[in-house]
Amino acid sequence: MSEPFLIGDSMTGGYGNGPDILHDCTIAVNKGEIAVIVGPNGAGKSTGMKAVFGMLNLNKGSVRLDGEDITALSPQDRVVKGMGFVPQTSNIFTSMTVEENLEMGAFIRRDDYKDTMTQIYDLFPILKEKRYQAAGELSGGQRQQVAVGRALMTQPKVLMLDEPTAGVSPIVMDELFDRIIEVARTGIPILMVEQNARQALEIADKGYVLVQGANAFTGTGKELLADPEVRKSFLGG
């Protein structure tokens, strides 16, 4: 098997000097794929993603992007390298307009980003409609679209979403998943953490089930959905 586009390889580590939360955990995503991380509460799903993004101290293991070792880089430097990250909470500038949010997403770009903004407005038409409105005034689902749009403004080579559907209604959730699939169709690999394991695995090319900071099951989304043991323990039978 060839090297995946982005891989957090056998990561072990925790926050600051605290105890290890991840134990030999591997998360990867290939070009043109959607990879999801699922697992019970407190399994270290978000922690795993944050480790890939450089917000954790790794004692062992490495993170490689497109074959390059980026383990030592800060999150900011990883953004420059082409990683887009959407945090779970506080992921937009509430007092700024939608358009300004997108502009801030493109802050590190020195070239003309108008085309990228047009693409994002095509992907999320509602944002174009509300472009001059303060982002804080939007609904939960719209805010998440702003957040994803902001991360896409850097034209990332890989997009990471931390529980994008947390706290939104099921209908909005379906719509958000549709949008995420659309983003993936533009060729950007997506790595995301999800609470709603079943729906997430349905759209996933690859799934990681984490338990207590370690890989419990790994496979394609369909394999995991079909795996009786995964069904029993995480998907409610």
Partner: protein
């Protein structure tokens, strides 16, 4: 009808014009406080003395120009000297940031520690200003004293009441308008300005977006230095320059920033005028205006003054408390970190 005109002129002369120019000075001061709060997240007690320092530098350069015989025609020479005062103050705040505040920022110290640190800076600046220019009143305004004086106005209008419009008041208002427009243009239209707002709004996400915090902080200090110098110089021109006054000015300036909503520039301006108008209106003796408006038999025999002028500071303070109790985030919903 003439009576109403007279009443309006008296009102303008004693209430509207003084309150507008004072409000503009407070607003500029409060903008500085609110920007520091929004970006560096602490209440800067040294701000009053930063204003004093900026005004002092401007005064020193003004004196130098005056000794060289440079003047600005009918306008005060201080306007020419102000850019130099601003530069000196920028140097000062960058120095204090580099050698004082930066350490605590890196430690992620609690805001209250930064407030105490700013007390130390306040002490030093206060001492420095007194050390250099002395504790006394300094006059430095020159040029025309009035845009329109009482005598001219009476001759012009034929009214019984006079209206004086001091040059310094006119300059204060015009300068404040220009500065505020420039500031808002900067904050809302430029990349750096927007990055400042983004940083103030959501620090973590700003970092994630590649905004350099040290650059944002530096730009903020530079703007604050300019605002403080302008506010201090205008206040000094309009009233008088005395180092001690600026410590007392801290209270209405803070009140303005909080009433408007700490962290909100628009709020700082609204707060400045709210405080200024309340102070002037509550401590003004309304007898003069009232005698024109009400029938003669009702004319008041007292001064119709709600509070003696000595309680000016109390007014700003009472408004502050009322706002804090009923709308803790201020009129324009500031931050509550």
């Amino acid at each position: 009808m003439i009576d109403f005109l007279n009443a309006f002129v008296a009102l303008s002369n004693f209430v509207l014009i003084p309150a507008i120019s004072y409000g503009a000075q407070l607003a500029l001061g409060a903008l500085g406080v609110t920007l520091i709060y929004g970006i560096l997240r602490f209440s800067n007690f040294a701000h009053g003395d930063t204003m004093a320092f900026g005004a002092m530098c401007t005064i020193l350069v003004t004196w130098l120009f005056q000794s060289w015989g440079i003047s600005f025609g009918p306008l005060p020479t201080a306007l020419l000297a102000m850019p130099f005062g601003i530069l000196a103050t920028m140097g000062l705040v960058l120095f204090t940031d580099r050698y004082v505040y930066k350490f605590y920022r890196e430690q992620k110290a609690k805001p209250v520690i930064l407030v105490i640190v700013s007390l130390g800076v306040m002490f030093i600046l206060n001492g420095l200003v007194r050390f250099i220019i002395g504790p006394n009143d300094q006059r430095f305004s020159d040029g025309e004293r009035f845009i329109i004086s009482v005598r001219e106005f009476k001759a012009l209008s034929g009214l019984k009441e006079g209206l004086a419009f001091k040059t310094t008041q006119g300059i204060t208002i015009v300068t404040a308008v220009i500065v505020v427009i420039a500031l808002f243009w900067f904050l809302n239209r430029t990349r750096t300005g927007k990055s400042m707002r983004a940083y103030s709004d959501n620090e973590d996400l700003a970092l994630l977006s590649g905004i350099n915090p040290e650059r944002v902080v530096m730009v903020t200090w530079l703007i604050v230095a300019a605002l403080a110098t302008i506010a201090g110089t205008l206040y000094g021109l309009d009233k008088s320059f005395k180092p001690f006054i600026f410590l007392q000015l801290l209270l209405p300036v803070f009140a303005a920033a909080i009433v408007g909503g700490l962290g909100s520039p628009l709020g700082a301006i609204a707060g400045g005028f709210t405080i200024a108008f309340s102070e002037v209106m509550i401590t003004y003796a309304w007898k003069k205006v009232a005698t024109y408006v009400v029938p003669e038999s009702w004319a008041p025999d007292t001064l119709v003054q709600l509070l003696s002028t000595d309680y000016k500071f109390a007014v700003s303070f009472v408004i502050l408390i009322i706002v804090l109790l009923f709308r803790p985030t201020g009129l324009f919903a500031g931050k509550s970190v």
